[in-house]
Point group: C2
Chain length 203, copies 2
């Protein structure tokens, strides 16, 4: 099993490899990956070595097979259906972002408890009622739920999603969801803290 | 200098310690911190040992001094002024979030290039013109800029912010900003990738 910090690096290598391929490159060196991602050359070689990828001297790694291998390691080599719960500010910022689809996370439904939002089309998605969660998750073959509701409602929403068989949750609410499925908490103030620390670092 | 994965853990310990203190606790054990954050007990003791914090057998760590020490290590022991560039979907989700202020990141100004937004009050912030960036950063003693504009505009915005002395950038646009100040890139699709990997893990 891959440790979490390694997963973060693999995700960065994948993004970089995909943008190089899109720009017309066919290979990349470990030092090329290292400099653009602020990791050491040796770290890149160790991470990719674990995946059975060996760079060839003078040529580096061929991008197309590297991308395929990274997508498999990160378990994103197939698309997954996603439901957003909460069509508020965060929900709308996510609904409008085309890159999720490109990376294999297809937003297929959006629900809200506010009846005045239900039935409205926002950025190409028609908001449905939160009462339909069970039917939507099962009929829509939805694997991931995004919790974008106020803190007071988040646990109840999460428990409902877990109860109808969702496989994982991305949580924006600033509280722990206490459910049996994997949860990734998004906390943008941690990103600001990481920035404050980077600003305080010498050099 | 603290390695970046350690910074992420320290930020989690700080959040946990603060919510325990708010709930009326006065101490926490290393295993208490470890279980709620999915790290090992030994990792907690090593991390906090680096900061000179020693838990006392049977009692653990006293929360108040632990919080003070963590805030100092993360360089968040004082408040910083923040400017949001882009009052669109992402910008509005950030403007409305009260926790940034609680964690020492005060959103003091919001600017946009869209003249129909300039002068409008949104969630307690009056949107100003992007033409005023230089004056706002200098007069407002702003240290951090949040880049919440479309990808095509992001680099120019970042260069302008760096040129007028901003100390760090939080970037939402899906591109590298290439500026001389520290940048943290927020990429929510990486969080989804981390979730997909956690869903694929056994156990
Ligand atoms: N982690 C971060 O850095 C960060 C940043 C901003 C906001 N947030 C959090 O994200 C969450 C969403 O924030 P927002 O600004 O989008 O809030 P918002 O108020 O703009 O939107 C919330 C939406 O959820 C809907 N809702 C409420 N209860 C519901 C329920 N039981 N089922 C379905 N829908 C329900 C509301 O009708 C509303 O449309 C909040 O918990 C907020 O604290 C986190
Ligand atoms: N990283 C992620 O996971 C993620 C998720 C969603 C969106 N995004 C990105 O975040 C950014 C913002 O997205 P959004 O949905 O809020 O976009 P949006 O279109 O809703 O808002 C963008 C705002 O920026 C303003 N703007 C444009 N050029 C400007 C300039 N030069 N100076 C000042 N303001 C300017 C626009 O007038 C608009 O109000 C985009 O780059 C988007 O790709 C990232």
């Amino acid at each position: 099993s891959i440790p979490r910090p390694t997963v973060r690096r693999l995700s960065l290598y994948l993004r970089e490899a995909e943008s190089l391929l899109q720009a017309g490159h066919r290979t990349v060196s470990s030092s090329g990956l290292a400099t653009s991602l602020a990791v050491t050359d040796a770290q890149v070689r160790r991470d990719l070595g674990h995946l059975g990828q060996k760079g060839r001297a003078g040529i580096g790694y061929r991008l197309a097979p590297l991308i395929t291998r990274l997508r498999r390691a990160l378990a994103v080599d197939r698309s997954r259906n996603v439901l957003i719960v909460g069509a508020g500010r965060i929900g709308r910022a996510l609904m409008a972002y085309p890159r999720f689809d490109q990376r294999g996370f297809r937003i297929v439904a959006v629900v809200d408890a506010d009846t005045s939002l239900v039935g409205r089309a926002i950025d190409g998605h028609v908001v449905q009622s939160v009462d339909q969660i069970e039917t939507i998750v099962v009929d829509g073959d939805i694997e991931i739920g995004i919790v974008a509701v106020p803190e007071a409602d988040a646990r109840a929403v999460a428990q409902r999603l877990a109860a109808c068989g969702i496989s994982g949750l991305l949580n924006f609410a600033p509280c722990r969801l206490n459910v049996d499925v994997p949860v990734i908490d998004v906390d943008l103030s941690s990103s600001l803290e990481e920035l404050a620390w980077a600003m305080a670092e010498p050099g």
